[in-house]
Amino acid sequence: MKTLVRAEHIVTTFPVDRKRRFAAVDGVSLELRRGEIVGLVGESGSGKSVTSMSMLQLILPPGKVEGKVFVDGFEGDTLAFGADSDQVRQIRGGKIGMIFQEPMTSLDPVLTVGRQIQENIMTHLHLPKAEAKARAVEMMKAVGIPDPETRFGQYPSQFSGGMRQRIMIAMVLAAEPDVLIADEATTALDVTTQALILDLIQDLARQRDLTVVIVTHNLGLIARYADRIYVMYGGNIVESAEKYELFDHPIHPYTHGLLAAVPRLDAGKRHMLVPIEGLPPNPADLPPYCKFYDRCPYREEACTQGPCALYQAGEGHFVRCALTQEALADKRGRLEGVRRLMPDKTVSQEICLEVKDLRMDFPIYRGLLKQKVGEVHAVDGISLHVHAGETLGVVGESGCGKSTLAKCVMRALKPTAGQILFHGEDLGTLTGRKLKRARSKLSMIFQDPFSSLDPRQTAGSIVGEPLKIHGLVRDRAQYDARVDELLRIVGLDPTFRDRLPREFSGGQRQRLGIARALASEPDMIVCDEPISALDVSIQAQVINLLIDLQARLKIAYLFIAHDLSVVKHISDRIVVMYLGRVVELAPAERLYESPLHPYTKALLSAVPVSDPHVDLARERIELRGEVPSVMDHPAGCAFCGRCRYAMDRCRTEAPMLRDQGDGRQVACFLYEREAGERDGREGGTEHGEA
């Protein structure tokens, strides 16, 4: 296959202050051949995005890019031409197109969607306006946007996240580039939408013999879609190989660590994750020698002797490590057996939290005049219970009402109807003193570590605040001791007590959030997407921390997330939600082995497994259409619009949760008939006990 783009020893530096500069990308060389899909994988701060941006010279001053980039059709080093030169501008968009992570902010809000697509066409294909418009509409149809003629004139704010990413793809491909770089293109999307978008990119690449670079931190995506993979850490490529070669015999300790740290859908629940210890690399002061030295379990003196080079360890397989392949192999053998087992925890029968037919409606105000035009049934009659010491996982895509459920349970919102019984007391009716005492036993961990800590408060006072509120300490000495203990429990150095949140990394901040939640010795913690904003290696550390704490302190978790593999790893039982209703509930293992509800099946099939062989073998379910808008409540089953087995009964009547034996429940008419026959009960209206 012909090499389209070759980058040699790219170094991109940014100023730390007037004197020193740091290299975000420290000598990266890579090749892109026609028609292949390349995976560029690494955590945030590994320089994967900066590398792709450097190739297109999208780095803004004061950043500087050195090295050589050769692009087919342009002789000589394209870096030599200025960033604003005609040649480079032809490459950008014309030869190499790029789509970015955040669909919500990647399109210009004040220009119509069509005009932005036209702009790309007219710049590169030099077509007149009318023709460019026709071509744009055709591209919109190609990426699956319904009735593109009318939507051509609409603004980005009128599209959903998934739709906007399709528009980005249409815009880039409209200029017929040879290479498409997808920089974390689906990270912000739901699992099912992510699958649809990446399948679309894969089909378009096949049709147009397009080279695609998937830049991501999600090993699953790489396993499913990429042909060749580069693994990056601290600004260097640490390992590169064909997909199967890399997944079957990973050599570099970091690659190995990543594979062990990522929870797998098909993995059992007996072993804890093996996190990569320590902090992510701080770009300001990177060591001259191997950057992974601090976190590498196999590090030796040899590693610090100077920069280690990329050497060929097999056919098309390159590794950048001071230790030889064999040394790494036997070290790994010794450490292999030491994987920790999941601590055994006792789940008592006593019910800690019981939610009975919870309903939460939000009025919608239309336009600036605030007339009420409709109602959103965010939570539409949910009943569930959590035993003391148990972890109940709640899974569902965005808009299914899982966060609203968390807020109702925490009484941040007053539920429209239904009861929330915490140790028998209905939180819904509690007020004042009694609510405050109940709240000490129930705390919450938030998703965004940056906005959940008061920027003006020191770490110590953040963690200690619940102590003061509930008067759990008598005097200053006991307060300090307790704060230090809490910091130590979550693995933070107590001397960081008087630092401000902005001086901590994302992972450390989430640990502060956990410490704060633990301060009032709660019986139950509601975790609202606690790890989705963190890096993979840090996620594993936080998950293990939560598991250990639960075993030791007997705390119940209501664990809410959209990453199914993490939820499977940590939960005892899992609830699957769709558009405000519970569609299925089952123990973790059994849900993944034999999902009942069609939506659960589709959801599970959309999640890629970080092992190419297993992933290839799994059955792929095509999920049509999009999540219906929250405002028009479908009469029957909310999923029937996208369900392959939809019957006319589904369209008229809403299915109730039916008990399917050994703790499993499902709300779907497919199982109604069998359940009916098996138990002989007519379709009663009473609810199955979740």
Binding site: L58, I91, R92, M98, S106
Partner: protein, 314 residues
Amino acid sequence: MVKYISSRIGQMLVTVVLVSFFTYILVDIMPKDPVYALYGPNITQEEYEAGYRALDLDKPLLVRYGMWASKVLRGDWGTSYKHHMQVWKLLAPKIAVTLYLSVLSAIVSFAVGILLGAVTAVKRGKWQDTVLTFLANLCASLPSFVVALGLLYLFCIRSQLLPTSGFTWPWVDFGKHVRQLAMPLFALSLSGVASICRQTRSSMLEVIRQDYIRTARSKGLRERVVIVGHVMRNALVPVITLLGNRLAYFIGGAMFVENVFSIPGTGSLMVQSINFMDVPVIQAFVVLSAVVISLAYLVTDILYVAVDPRISLD
């Protein structure tokens, strides 16, 4: 859109009514005696009492306000104590002049301000940024009447280039109009430039860091096209909000320039009427200015909503 505008106009009317009521009270508290203002100082006690009753000063405040408001609604703004003219006939041409000068100054200061702001944002850190920011701040820190006097000295006393004073409508004699308006316009709009420049600069710096600008660049557009096509359009949205506030400032501040270049605006009239306690003129001036300023804010809101599609109106 129509529903939005009509409700905003409703709010505007409420504001104007509140302004008129507040002004009525304010004027009533002022220590000077309107009877002397109308009838002059040396009048007999009987005349004083007749005048007192004629002005309904013996009735309670609310009743007086009601009577005044009802007359105004019928279009009768009363006669000026000092000029013995229908207030409306006295005030209308002057408000037209001040409004014309203010709107023109707003346009000029916005044009120059945005230009300066854009250049300092694009050339951030370079010498242009420092120099232009310093210049913009210098303009803002000179009182408008000092600038006016300086210009007068330069162009009239030293070099006799421009006429010193007066105002003629452009359709009357365009050449004279332009020559007469050059200095006052420059003096008045100078003060507005700095704040607009600073707002443009900070909103442009904000927009340049956004993702969609990186997307625009990744489409291979020329840097100039990115700046003008994408950055400026987004950066101007917050700058528009300044329009209403700047216009209100100009209407208030135009007086100094009018005084120096003896332009027949409302400026000097307003000072006299307050000193002379010419109640109907004060009332009319403040209420009419309030209407104009509220209109300016209304236009700003509508422009803001029209330009930014993210705000849905339906």
